[in-house]
Amino acid sequence: MKLDDKLYLVRFNTDTLNHIKIADAAVCLKCQDKPCTRICPAHVYDWDDEEKRISVGYEGCLECGTCRVGCPYGNILWGYPRGGFGVSWKNG
């Protein structure tokens, strides 16, 4: 089963405010491995080769916090969405 099809099953109350920030885009340029593009269970992070930066699809964030621990440069400023926003599990 494809990840996109699974994410389609998740209930979100999407905030208009992005709760994830890349601290310094220049750091991502230097980062060879870019683990954020793999370790995020929802594939929120993707390398945009044209714009030479990490694109962040915060709307699909499952709020686990893996990215924050896994970024080797501590370059992902991840926090919780505002109260009442974000993922809202159906089963848990």
Binding site: K6, L62, T66, R82
Partner: protein
Amino acid sequence: MENFDVIVVGGGPAGLSAALSAAKAGMKTVVIERGDYPGTKNVMGGVLYTKATEAVVPDFWQSAPLERPVIEQRYGFLSGDETILAGYRDPVWAQAPYNAHTVLRVKFDRWLAQQAEKAGVMIITETVVEDLLYKGDNVVGVRTGRAEGDLGAKVVILAEGVNAFIAKKAGLAPQMRPDTVAVAVKEIIQLPQEKLEDRFCLEPGQGATIELFGDSTQGMMGTAFIYTNKDSLSIGVGALLEPLIRTKWTPNDLLEALKAKPYVKRLIQGGETKEYLAHLIPEGGYNAMPKLHRQGVLVVGDTAMLVNGLNREGSNLAMTSGKMAGEVAAQCIQSGDLSDQGMSLYEQRMRDSFVVKDLYKFRRLGRFFETHPHFLKVYPEIAANAMHLYFTADETSKKERQKQIMKMVFEKRAKGGLVSDVFGAWRAILK
């Protein structure tokens, strides 16, 4: 600013247990939860332990939304397409006082919050706590994300989950590292009750759990699990973040690889995936535990790294720690001693309980699997090969067969390595 005796940050099992026990001791208590209601942000594999839950809500099984009582625990090693299984079943676990139940946290946590409300706890939802409030060095409340959202308290209990933002800001918890957390993903797969019970050999209403090691995580430190709910399975896999980064697997690919294993495939066949979930598991153990208290603050549950990965226990450690914290908070408030020294009673009680004793006992385990990776890759392979050889009936004599097996074992792992592995395992697990 509204004032409370106790503010609990986070409405999971640890926080709600803390709130319940504080309220029962007469404290004016509030739980601040960031979800729509307690449960909507909460994820675990799915096993709730009776003893720890009963201590918080007596006879909870009569009214709590539980899935199935666990009467069988199966353990398996996967090596390629091969499977080695062991298990224990006792139908007595299908009756009170039970041992454990499977649960779905959205339902269970909501119910637990209702029990807290009945005990007088106030629950504020859709609110993120941003920081502690200080007066000089003393903690006097919390700042929330709401306008004019400051709330005063004599004691703040941090039950904010694994990400522990506030505990880190307060200098209590260290930053997490890729070798102290596991990433877990799981699916809820719906199956008709009868089909589910047939596949797991269960009487109506009974439940089973399966933990799978080895190739279930592609040899990474971690486990996979399959738990039976009423009319669905919780199937998931958790792997330590460090090897996950190194091996370049994605969490979803790990889960899909697990689902494709011959043993697993047949159990979930025909089921419909209803939800895909992700969560971090604090795996740092005893050595990564934060400071559990400071003046006016206590730390509980995942925020305190209270997970015993080897025995897949977490919810029980969370609830036990929460209950103790609620009681100690009330005691300190009543005695008027909210100093760090006064609050250290919580740590003392935790150290005297199974919670910290178990974490201490397995304190070498994480490091052990890091330095002995063969346990999760080479040994399952050796065991599977040995069984394959042993159970294959052909014209080889059993004596010759045993020789073949020993030869295979020593080819895959040198004698010296075997001895060091056995000693290391004894030291990390049994000693």
